[in-house]
């Protein structure tokens, strides 16, 4: 009935899972390092939502693959070149402005993307999306508020936010690129067509950035490659740390 193979769906699910895990892992680095205790706790919440999301996608991917692998096999026993997350997710946290601008760009995108995914003809995916979109709406409320507060706060906070926007801008086009896999699955009503999200994303982001007294960069540039496993140098270190116990002692119960 379907004119795509299981491995097409599997690859698509891995991309979504990797996006969520890598951002969750990055965000969890804020734990005990937040600018104040309340925010520290809130950042951990966001990280927890993303790791939870990753687990749902990995579990489904493992099921689709049908080789008896687990969520942990997928997270802990693949190398850099096999990870297919978007580059923006793997960049270091740098400072609070950088983390928040990244989160904001991704939150606006996630709300649009997950909205589309709730209508997927794949019931399992639609169910994951319905749960995740509630979290992402809450994340967006937070990151949008921070954008405003830090954009309009002090000269320093405005400058830091602008720097973050400028440095992250070229990583946003990748969020709208369709892989061959996604094109096939989107035709089948399973995946979301990312092309359709760009206009709405740009309109929201442009309006929010302006009202925070910040500017959209004039210069257009882009760095891509995450979906093909062509990553920044940062990912390898993240994975080395994350995977150390499983790689050192494979096959054990923890």
């Amino acid at each position: 009935m379907n004119n795509f193979s299981n491995s097409t769906l599997y690859n698509y699910l891995l991309g979504l899972a990797d996006d969520a895990l890598i951002l969750g892992q990055r965000t969890s680095e804020w734990c005990s390092r937040g600018p104040f205790l309340e925010e520290d706790i809130a950042l951990s919440n966001v990280a927890l939502d993303y790791i939870g999301r990753a687990r749902m996608f990995y579990q489904y991917a493992a099921e689709v693959e049908g080789k008896g692998r687990s969520e942990d096999d997928l997270a802990y026993f693949r190398d850099e070149r096999e990870f297919s997350n978007l580059l923006i997710n793997e960049l270091p946290n740098y400072d609070f402005a950088f983390s928040m601008v990244r989160q904001y760009f991704l939150d606006v995108h996630a709300c649009l993307y997950l909205q589309g995914l709730t209508a997927s003809t794949d019931q399992h995916l639609a169910a994951i999306a319905s749960k995740a979109i509630k979290e992402s709406r809450y994340h967006l409320k937070r990151s949008q508020t921070w954008l405003l507060q830090l954009g309009l706060g002090t000269e320093e906070s405005n400058k830091r936010m602008q720097t973050a926007i400028d440095e992250l801008w070229g990583y946003t086009p990748e969020m709208f690129m369709m892989t061959e896999t996604e094109t096939q699955l989107s035709t089948a009503g399973i995946a979301v067509n990312r092309d359709n999200l760009l206009q709405q994303w740009t309109a929201t982001v442009t309006a929010d950035i302006r009202s925070a007294d910040l500017q959209i960069p004039d210069q257009q540039w882009q760095v891509v490659g995450g979906r093909e496993g062509k990553h920044s140098e940062h990912l390898g270190h993240l994975l080395a740390q994350m995977q150390i116990l499983q790689r050192s002692y494979p096959g054990l119960e923890w």
Binding site: R33, L37, S44, I51, S157, W254
Partner: protein
Amino acid sequence: MSDSGQAVFDRRIEAEQKIEPKDWMPADYRKNLIRQMSQHAHSEVIGMQPEGNWISRAPTLKRKMVLLAKVQDEGGHGLYLYSATETLNATRDEMNAALHSGKAKYASIFNYPALSWADVGAIGWLVDGAAIVNQISLQGTSYGPYSRAMIRICKEESFHQRQGYEIMIALAKGTPMQKAMAQDALNRVWWPSLMMFGPHDSASAHSGRSMQWKIKLRTNDDLRQSFIDQTVPQIKFLGLELPDPDIKWNEERGHYDSGEIDWDEFKRVISGDGPCNRDRIRHHKKALDEGQWVREALQAYHNKKASASAA
């Protein structure tokens, strides 16, 4: 005037009624509470570091989530306790400054490093286990906000202890390497856990007053004994060796006897020279320093909004 305040205060303590923030209280009672409560809050917050050290390396995604949620809870406990301490007119800035200068202490257990995944298990099991014994007793403390914070915290701590013990069970049932990892963690965490209850009653500087004011309800040694009694069977259940060769059941006392704590080490670590004291404070201070521009921006934003709506 203050005499009648004192008389009312004494009657309330005697009748085991709570003292509330607006009630008259002796200056030393306030001071003692600020010392103990801020120390308790700092312990929760500094305690995020050793376990937080393993969030990025947790061996499964499920363990990672449970650990992150647990460390986040510790932050939440710190927050309740700072808020409760603020009702005594101590500010968060003052408390942080006292922490950084070394004037305010925190549980010395957190000055030891978490070196293996098993340490995460041992900390949850033993350190949270010891904390629960202490905190259950503190639910009845005489200061209302402290008592209410303790009641809330105790509900969450038992989940923490369980997650720690579950990690230990998995390791104890695992390969010889995993079992050795669990044993090593137990051996290292055991003694500092006993030190968490503080010096012997005979040597405790603050115990007498605190007991009289019903801030503390049970003595350090009494609480420590309860902890040892509840934990020894748990060690045996895991099939691990006892970390202290002198642990023996004493039929006559109806308690376990145990070896003497190295009080020199206790003093050394609490006064700042443990393996991680400097790291812990540096980490805490660095986060606050790096977040200063965020806090300033937030303040500036709210000031601008307030003056805009006033205009």
